[in-house]
């Protein structure tokens, strides 16, 4: 069984839950930006939660099925059509051999996840099928899908049609979106005023927003505590001796536009970081469109861990619901 890519959309990539273990060599974990959405899509079609599916950004692909299959689309609200007939998102759908999946215009969110029973079965690199184009790993020979690709799919039985994730368990960012941040790392480089302003101001998602990182603009510039530049750091007050970057860490080159590193993060560099978005809110970033308004919310470790537990509980509920 294969998925025939008729149209590829804007940037549709194969993603699973990533390849941890190689960040010390500059190879990021990668994987679905909205992990909860990919897990839910896989659960809907009876796959292991870490099976590989497709991540479509802003615009859906067009796909022809060579055999009957169960599919599910989660994440962004991207109207789903089978042979032109509208179907539900977050719900299992049975498609017949020869039928074509296509999408309407994006209504909310940024990334839709397409799971197919059996999972996409391309060759894994370093234990994962996730596409990392910079390093030419995973995906289709290291790249995003293109028209004409035929993606192999594993063998699996079909599931009942109409299984659905209850709307209360579908998590998306609000408007303005709130991203919770734990300060730390090089937070002390900012003046007290700048630190306060970072959380007071409303920021907007800039056009440069991709799997590597999301850039934000519109807030007031941040200023730094005076210092003698440490040897090897560089003269700019936002420079440090190149160090590792955390996933979710927020760097502000030159104090102007914050960048939150995401799943395909560069593993290190020479900019100060003021802290990191908490793990529970990383999925939400993957659903932010350019120009969305965002507030960063200052939280403590206790809140971060409670949010983490809450997200896990949501996933467990979806599992229970579909189990």
């Amino acid at each position: 069984m294969t998925l025939k890519i008729v149209k590829s959309g804007l940037a549709t990539t194969i993603q699973d839950l990533g390849r941890p273990g190689y960040f010390h060599l500059g190879i990021p974990e990668g994987g679905a930006m909205d992990r909860l959405a990919l897990r839910a899509a896989n659960m809907l079609v009876g796959n292991p939660e870490d099976a590989a599916g497709l991540e479509a950004v802003f615009m859906g692909p067009e796909i022809e099925f060579t055999r009957d299959a169960s599919i599910a689309i989660t994440g962004a609200e991207l109207p789903v059509m089978i042979d032109g007939e509208p179907r539900e998102t977050w719900t299992s759908i049975t498609v017949k051999a020869g039928q074509v999946l296509s999408f309407g215009f994006l209504q909310a969110g940024a990334r839709a996840y397409i799971a197919v029973s059996g999972g996409i079965a391309t060759e894994p690199d370093l234990g994962s099928r996730s596409t990392y184009p910079i390093g030419a790993l995973g995906g289709v020979g290291g790249r995003a899908v293109q028209p004409g690709d035929e993606l192999p799919v594993g063998d699996a039985p079909l599931v009942a049609e109409g299984r659905s994730v209850p709307p209360a368990l579908r998590r998306g960012p609000g408007n303005p979106a709130e991203l919770r941040v734990l300060t730390g790392l090089y937070w002390y480089r900012l003046t007290e005023d700048a630190g306060r302003r970072f959380f007071e101001d409303t920021w907007t998602v800039a056009a440069e927003a991709d799997r590597m990182g999301y850039r934000f603009k519109g807030g007031r510039p941040l200023d730094f505590v005076d210092r003698e530049p440490p040897f090897g750091a560089g003269a700019d007050p936002s420079n440090i001796v190149d160090g590792c970057y955390s996933y979710g860490s927020i760097q502000v080159p030159g104090g102007t536009e914050p960048i939150v590193l995401h799943r395909d993060a560069v593993s290190g560099g020479g900019y100060f970081t003021l802290g990191a978005v908490i793990s529970a809110d990383m999925d939400l970033i993957g659903q932010l469109q350019p120009n969305t308004q965002v507030k960063f919310v200052n939280v403590d470790m206790e809140t971060a861990l409670a949010a983490r537990a809450e997200r896990k509980a949501t996933i467990a509920k979806i599992r229970q619901e579909l189990g």
């Binding site: 500059g26 190879i27 730390g184 090897g232 160090g243 955390s246 979710g248 290190g268």
Partner: protein, 291 residues
């Protein structure tokens, strides 16, 4: 040197040995990150050593943040006591300085540079007080380098030169990063040299290019058949200046899979090195004669 411990969100602990770059800070960071690896703390998923710091990624559901931080902290005394010596390898990396490809690229992005009137090498030579580009290139390759970090993107090594601080070359990064850098460009930013493992964006000054493949995800290159990434922290590099003819010859040989870099196993002892850097480096480089 004062060690600083901090959290990177709820999944990372970040440890900075020193704000400044030094070989002492690099050694301590490397030995402490090794100690963390050996301690095998439950929940740890990634240990990333950097120039003068390192980062641990972990699952806080397995070991809570406070406990993770304190367990890492407890290992500091071991790193302090650890011998500042290691068995490593020295690798001769051919470099074609002032090559046409990085030159074409630097001309394309000239408006993003501090000094649009010359080349990156002209600029770097001048601000570091060298009379000529040739003298500057000589300083770049005459003494060896330590790979102090691997990262940014796939297998990219950062290198720090094994010389006194007052002899360290320092250059700023481009005013605005380029959107393109040729694959295997030898670059420079701050006090670090690097080799761009893949083509892509970059902000380091461009000095030359190496014909040596250092990242091969398909692992066709013979010396990358064990693993797709060539460099690891602790490697020592000696740049070997080559001309166009040699560059073309090596590039063809890499493609034909009949070339491998010269490599020799060496001991590196930081205290011995500090006593006589130039003499110590000469011995390190001699090891390549037998390779």
């Amino acid at each position: 040197m004062k060690t600083r411990y901090t959290y990177g969100g709820d999944e990372h602990v970040y440890v900075e040995m020193d704000e400044e770059m030094s070989l002492e800070a690099f050694f301590k960071s490397l030995s402490m990150s090794n100690a963390v690896r050996e301690a095998d703390i439950p929940g740890v998923t990634e240990i990333c050593p950097a120039n003068a710091s390192f980062q641990v990624r972990y699952n806080p559901d397995v070991t809570p943040p406070e406990e993770m931080l304190s367990r890492i902290k407890d290992l500091e005394h071991m790193a302090d006591k650890a011998e500042k010596r290691m068995t490593t390898r020295i690798i001769e990396v051919p470099v074609y300085y002032q090559d046409p490809w990085t030159h074409e690229t630097l001309m394309r992005f000239r408006e993003r540079h501090q000094d649009p009137s010359g080349s990156d090498l002209d600029y770097a030579a001048r601000i570091n007080g060298y009379d000529s580009v040739e003298a500057f290139i000589e300083a770049h390759h005459s003494q060896p380098w330590f790979v102090s970090m691997v990262g940014f993107v796939s297998g990219l090594p950062f290198l720090y030169q094994l010389v006194e601080r007052d002899r360290q070359i320092q250059v700023p990064k481009y005013l605005r990063p380029r959107t393109d850098t040729p694959k295997q460009t030898v670059g420079y930013g701050g006090s670090f040299s690097c080799i761009y493992s893949v083509r892509g964006a970059g902000g380091y000054q461009m000095f030359g290019i190496t014909p040596m493949t250092i990242y091969d995800p398909r692992q066709h290159v013979s010396y990358l058949s064990d693993f797709m990434v060539f460099f690891k922290p602790g490697d020592i590099v000696k740049w070997n200046p080559i001309d166009r003819a040699e560059y073309d010859r090596i590039l063809a040989a890499v493609e034909a899979n009949t070339w491998a870099p010269r490599i020799a196993e060496v001991e590196f002892d930081l205290d011995e090195f500090n006593k006589d850097m130039v003499g110590y480096n000469a011995k390190l480089m001699e090891a390549l004669n037998d390779a």
